[in-house]
């Protein structure tokens, strides 16, 4: 069995200087897929990851310590005014290690909007189909047929109301239906990057350095010349005193929305049209909390397996804020985090946990002139933060989705429904809920909003005036720089984004392989070496 070349910044006692054919910053949905494809093509890859290399033997299914260790900012990464939190993984495999496995193809409506309104070419459903098929096969993606009671309740509500709904395709293999996807699959059944593409890349000779934070891309003229990183301690917070430098003819940034544009901004890469970090989308999640007469035990079973897109496009692609609907099942900390009351209210809410039915609406953004998204900014310490003002367009989506979710939950038999804002009460009937929600004050941060789908900020555009990168991921100004992650989407998607990222990553990584092959040895700096990467001293 081959020995994997893995460095941990927390354990390094010296600086590290590596050379490779391609250096990839980030090991999540974009970086993992890219690493596998490039290393299988014989290219020498170095993968840099800010998180630690934690595997199923570390996954103890305890919530708080897992949030601390596997998520950026413990799953609460705040927007600049603290009005809401962004949930992103920070571990080998990125968010795929902790996501809930919902895998949708990019909706036709979204692709058509990109084509007709933004002029993007080569992105039709037919263009992307082979890439969806390839990643669906690679990650064992298929509709899940065993919804837990929590998800079934949502299906019952949708059925009763005559709404469109369906089974969610999940990237799992022999899933045991435990329900702990968000805490890292303890049985390695989730086909995350942690157990699929990253180990495959390591098997093909890729090197990986974990607990390193990339500070800067060094560039000159139209080329990136090196990647400079620092090592981090065990917590991933404090520098541990060493530097890591990687030089490679090609640089792929796959650090995800917010952090990818943040790195490019810190590096002061050319941005002649002031597009970098703008149009960052959240597909903001808001929640409705119900009590059902029977026990649902929502903390067990696949957390997400039923969806409805009845309202995603109802008022037209460019109309009022649309949203897709899903059920949410989680363990106590995550479930209680939706509720911001206290005292007797909190006690009553908590004691109903086994009967709790939680729904989420994901409000798509970026399709309307009143929905420009947020802007990534740099703090004085160089870290990236998202400024995302919540405007009336979003609040309209919040209110209309509160209404729809309450209607669905009452149709499913709920005895009480409460929108997840501390300004609301629990309502006993659909009529009461409808009237109360229609006049409910909506204000941050009392309305619990968050996002597990940060997207954009390095949007694709066919020319430099319309995007930071081209549709193939190549940067418009720096010719050997590529962005392969969720930050390239020019709008949010209207669905959970993982499969869209996997598929586009596969396509663009294969294009990079072809480009490098076509250019010959110039881009194969180390092709004579047998060792996967070369450490330079």
């Amino acid at each position: 069995m081959s020995t994997h070349e893995i460095y941990s910044g927390a354990a390094l006692e010296r600086d590290l200087h590596l050379e490779a054919d391609v250096v990839i910053v980030g090991s999540g949905a974009g970086g993992g897929v890219t690493a596998e494809i490039l290393s299988q093509a014989g290219l020498r890859v170095v993968l840099l990851e800010e998180g630690a290399h934690r595997t199923s033997s570390d996954f103890d299914l305890r919530e708080l310590s897992t949030f601390a260790k596997l998520y950026y900012d413990g799953g609460l990464r705040p927007t600049s005014d603290g009005a809401m939190g962004i949930v992103q993984g920070r571990t080998v495999g990125g968010s795929t290690t902790v996501n809930w496995t919902s895998c949708f193809r990019t909706p036709e409506q979204t692709l058509r909007f990109w084509r007709e309104q933004l002029g993007l070419e080569g992105m039709t459903s037919a263009d992307l189909e082979p890439w969806f098929e390839r990643m669906e096969a690679r990650l064992s993606i298929r509709p899940w047929e065993f919804p837990n009671l929590n998800n079934q309740a949502m299906a019952n509500g949708a059925e009763k109301l005559g709404w469109r709904y369906g089974a969610i395709p999940r990237n799992v293999l022999n899933c045991l239906n435990l329900g702990y996807c968000g805490l890292g699959c303890p049985m390695d059944r989730k086909q995350s990057m942690l157990v699929t593409t990253v180990p495959a890349a390591l098997d093909h000779g890729a090197a990986m350095a974990t607990r390193v934070r990339v500070e800067r891309l060094e560039w000159s003229g139209d080329r990136v010349t090196g990647v400079d990183a620092i090592t981090l301690d065990e917590t991933g917070v404090h520098p541990s005193g060493h530097r890591v430098r990687v030089e490679a003819p090609w640089v792929v940034v796959a650090a995800g929305a917010i952090n990818t544009p943040g790195l490019l901004m810190r590096s002061e890469v050319p941005d002649p049209h002031r597009l970098l970090g703008k149009r960052t989308f959240l597909q903001m999640h808001n929640y409705s909390l119900a009590v059902m007469p029977d026990r649902l035990d929502p903390f067990y079973g696949a957390p997400q397996s039923i969806y409805s897109d009845e309202f995603t496009w109802r008022d037209g692609v460019a109309g009022r804020a649309g949203f897709n609907l899903e059920a949410v099942g989680a363990q106590p900390v995550a479930s209680m985090n939706f509720f911001k009351g206290m005292g007797d209210d909190l006690e009553a809410f908590a004691r109903a946990l086994p009967h709790r039915h939680t729904m989420v609406a994901q409000i798509r953004d970026g399709f309307h002139s009143e929905s420009p998204g947020g802007q990534v900014e740099l703090r004085t310490d160089g870290s990236a933060v998202l400024d995302y003002p919540i405007n009336d367009y979003i609040w309209d989506g919040v209110r209309s989705s509160y209404l729809v979710m309450a209607e669905c939950q009452f149709a499913a038999g709920a005895t009480e429904v409460r929108p997840a804002t501390s300004d609301a009460a629990g309502y006993r009937s659909w009529a009461e809920a409808r009237s109360a929600i229609s006049s409910l004050p909506l204000r941050a941060p009392n309305v619990f909003l968050n996002s597990t789908h940060p997207l954009g900020g390095c949007g694709m555009g066919r020319d430099a005036t319309r995007g930071v990168v081209r549709p193939d991921g190549r940067h418009h100004q720096l010719e050997n720089l590529m962005v392969i992650d969720g930050s390239v989407f020019p709008t949010s998607l209207g669905v959970n984004p993982s499969l869209s990222i996997y598929a586009l990553a596969a396509r663009n990584a294969e294009k990079l392989v072809a480009t490098i092959a076509g250019r010959g040895p110039k881009d194969h700096a180390n092709s004579a070496e047998r060792h996967p990467t070369r450490e330079v001293n």
């Binding site: 708080l64 005014d81 059944r189 909190l346």
Partner: protein, 199 residues
């Protein structure tokens, strides 16, 4: 929507939203609230990035019974143990947050611990640990319903930290009907990624 319009709309008293962002939310509150009475010990330098400060623990310990109501064990030793265990888990959690977020959490507690701020928020001179449950509840409720975004954010953060610390513990699971995670044995048929390199 144009940027200036947006900022005018979201302006908070006389402080612009953008100005607050620049100074850091709670750093600004400290200056703003401390400025009311022109005193206070000021912020200590250093120490950020290693979990909860003593002031943070004191404040969270004080408000936990008010937030959690009847969920906290009633008897002395069990109650103390639930609070201690919860705060220890939370301490470790906070120590893993990014430096800017840890700074924000620390700024929050430093600000709340300034005596003029305590007087303003709780209506008395007592330290947080000595405030009556009624005073604490009244502070939390008025912050939650405040017209000032900053105070609503203070409430949301405090409430969240208490909830995170409490519901992570087995003692809480019992009271909410969560049997806990399944006990699992690793499956030898499934391949694992092991570090055989230099890590």
């Amino acid at each position: 929507m144009s940027a200036p319009g947006r900022h005018e709309r979201e302006s908070l008293l006389f402080i612009s939203r953008r100005g607050l962002l620049r100074a850091g939310l709670f750093g600004t509150t400290a200056v703003w609230m401390g400025g009311f009475v022109a005193c206070g010990p000021g912020r200590t330098a250093g120490g950020v990035g290693f979990g909860l400060s003593p002031a943070g623990k004191e404040i969270l310990r004080a408000i936990s019974p008010v937030v959690l109501g009847g969920l906290l064990p009633e008897t002395g030793p069990e109650r103390a143990r639930a609070l201690d265990t919860g705060l220890a888990s939370l301490d470790e959690y906070v120590a893993h947050l990014s430096s800017p977020l840890q700074r924000e959490v620390e700024d929050l507690f430093e600000t709340l611990d300034l005596w003029p701020v305590r007087v303003l928020l709780t209506g008395g001179f007592s330290r947080w640990a000595d405030c009556s449950p009624e005073a604490l509840e009244s502070f939390l409720r008025s912050a939650q319903g405040s017209r000032i975004f900053l105070l609503r954010r203070v409430y949301a953060l405090l409430q969240s930290l208490v909830v995170l610390s409490f519901f992570d513990q087995p003692v809480a699971w019992k009271s909410v009907g969560y049997p806990g995670p399944p006990l699992l044995k690793p499956d030898p048929r499934v391949g694992r990624v092991e570090n055989r390199g230099t890590e």
